[in-house]
Symmetry: C2
Subunit: 254 residues, 2 copies
DNA sequence: CTTATCGGTTTGTCCGACAAAGCTAGATTT
DNA sequence: AAATCTAGCTTTGTCGGACAAACCGATAAG
C-alpha cells in the first residue's frame, strides 16, 4: 500500500462530459422529470459557462443515451429512455461479439417461457384483447412470410407486456431483435410453417385465457422448437449471427 | 391505404448523424475491425467534407454508443462495445421507469437459474477455478458486508460466464446491476446473512463441479430467496427501485 | 375565423484560432 | 554508439463569432 496521498485526484474529465453528467444527474435523481424542457443551447451555455460547441457535444452524448430528446420543434427535453433504442445497441453489440444462434435460441427459450408464465398469471383483459387482435391479423396473412414474421415478433412483445414485468420486457428485447428477423426465412422455407406458427399462437393465447400455465409453457416450447427445426434446415445453430442477418434486421427496422 | 407516393421521402438527417451512421456502417459490417484506427478528426473532415465541429458531434454519438473509443493517446479506434457500459444505460432506464423490486427479483430468478444450468452443463476448468477463487475470497470477508456484496456480484457474473452463453450474460446484466447493490444492506441487516450467502455459493460451485443440475438450481433458488427474505425485512418488494438505491449503485461503480 | 406575413429565436453548420498534450525526429550527452 | 533531451509538428479540447434554414408567436389581411 502507498502512503496516504496529499492531494485528491484531480478531475480531468473534458468539459463536454461534465456538461452531460451534470444534466444526467438532474434527470436521474428526478429534479428534471420526463417531458420537462432542459432549456435552449444558449441557456446551457450561460449556465455552464462553456462554449456552445462544448454544450452541443454534451447534448449528443445524452441524446444517444436516450436521456434527452428533441420534441417536434427540436427543443430539448428529458425523456424516458425507450427500451427499443437501447436494445438495438445491445443487439449490435451481440453481433460484433459474434454470438451464435445456439446462444440466442437457448436464452430466448428461457425468456419466452418466463414471459408466458407471467402472462398466464397476470394478463389483463386488455392484454388478452391485444393478443387476440394480433392473432386475428396473423390468421389473415398466414401465407405471407414477411407480414407473418412481423406479427409473430409483435405477438411475443405483447406476451412480454402481458407479463406485467418491465424488467423481463427489457431483458428479452435484445435477443428478440436478433432472433425474430429470421422467422421470415424459416416460415417461408417450411411448408405449413405459417399454419403451425398461428396454431401455436392460438394455443398460447388460449392457455393465457384459461390461466393454464402448463399448457402455455408447453406450446411456447413447441413454438420455439419449430423455429429451431426450421432454422436448422437453413443453417447451423453454431454459426455466428452473421452480418447478413443483421442487415436483414436493419432493413426491417428502418 | 394511401396512393403510391410520387416522391421518395427526402432525407433530412443532420450531417453529424450521417457522419455517425457512415462510420457505424463500416464497423458493423466489418470493414473496420475492432482495434483498428478510424483516423484523425482532420482526416474525417476531409473525407466527409464537413466541419470539424460536425465531425466531433458525430464522434460523440458513436463514443457513447460504445462503437468507438479513444486509445491512450486519444486517437480514435473501433472497439467491441462493452456489455457493462450498455447495461449501465439500461439499468438507468429501468430506474426511470420505476420498476419494482418484485419485477427485478422475478426476472433475476429466471436468469440466474438459466445461468447456473448453463454453468453446470458447460463450465470449464478455468471457470471453476475462477469461481473457487471468488469463493475463497468471500470466505475471508464474510463479516464485511460491503466487500462480500461485491464478491457476490462477481460470483454471479462468473457463473454467467461459465454458462458460455454470451446472450445470457448480456441479458442478465441490467437486472443484476440493480439487484446486487442491495445485497450489502441485506447481508448487513440479517445476522448470519453473510454465512448463508457463502454457504449457498459453496453448494452452487459444488453442484457445478459435480455437474448436478438439480442441486445447482436448488441452491440458486435458495440463495435468491434468502435475498428476498432479507429484502422484505427492509422494504416492500412492490416499492419502486428508488433513486436512493441508484445512488448507491452509482457510488459503488465510480 | 382563417390565412398570410413578418420579426425574433433556435438549431445546424461553418470558419478560424489557440493552449495543452502527444508524438517524432534531430540534437546532445555520456 | 546508446541513451537522453529538446524542439517542432500534430492532434485534441475549447473558444468566439457567424449565417442560413426552420420554427414560433403575433399581427395584419382576407
Amino acid at each position: 500500500m502507498a502512503a496516504t496521498p496529499l492531494f485528491r485526484r484531480i478531475d480531468v474529465a473534458p468539459a463536454y462530459q461534465k456538461v452531460a453528467d451534470a444534466i444526467e444527474r438532474e434527470i436521474i435523481n428526478g429534479r428534471i422529470k420526463p417531458g420537462e424542457p432542459i432549456g435552449t443551447e444558449q441557456q446551457l451555455v450561460a449556465q455552464f459557462g462553456v462554449n456552445r460547441s462544448t454544450v452541443r457535444e454534451g447534448i449528443r452524448v445524452l441524446e444517444e443515451g436516450g436521456l434527452i430528446r428533441r420534441d417536434s420543434s427540436r427543443r430539448l427535453q428529458a425523456c424516458l429512455p425507450r427500451y427499443n433504442k437501447l436494445a438495438t445497441r445491445l443487439s449490435r453489440a451481440l453481433i460484433l461479439h459474434e454470438v451464435t444462434f445456439r446462444e440466442l435460441f437457448e436464452t430466448s427459450m428461457t425468456l419466452e417461457i418466463a414471459s408466458v408464465e407471467g402472462a398466464v398469471e397476470r394478463a389483463t383483459e386488455e392484454n388478452i384483447a391485444e393478443l387476440a387482435g394480433n392473432l386475428a391479423r396473423s390468421a389473415d396473412v398466414v401465407g405471407n412470410p414477411a407480414d407473418l414474421a412481423e406479427l409473430d415478433a409483435e405477438f411475443h412483445v405483447l406476451m412480454a407486456k402481458a407479463s406485467q414485468n418491465r424488467v423481463l420486457q427489457l431483458a428479452r428485447e435484445p435477443a428478440a431483435q436478433l432472433f425474430f428477423p429470421t422467422t421470415e426465412m424459416i416460415v417461408g422455407g417450411v411448408p405449413e410453417g405459417g399454419a403451425r406458427l398461428v396454431e401455436a399462437h392460438r394455443h398460447i393465447l388460449d392457455a393465457i385465457r384459461r390461466r393454464d400455465k402448463e399448457a402455455g409453457v408447453l406450446w411456447t416450447r413447441r413454438h420455439l422448437q419449430d423455429w429451431r427445426r426450421g432454422f436448422e434446415k437453413i443453417a447451423s445453430l453454431d454459426r455466428s449471427v452473421e452480418h447478413t442477418y443483421m442487415e436483414h434486421a436493419y432493413a426491417a427496422r428502418q
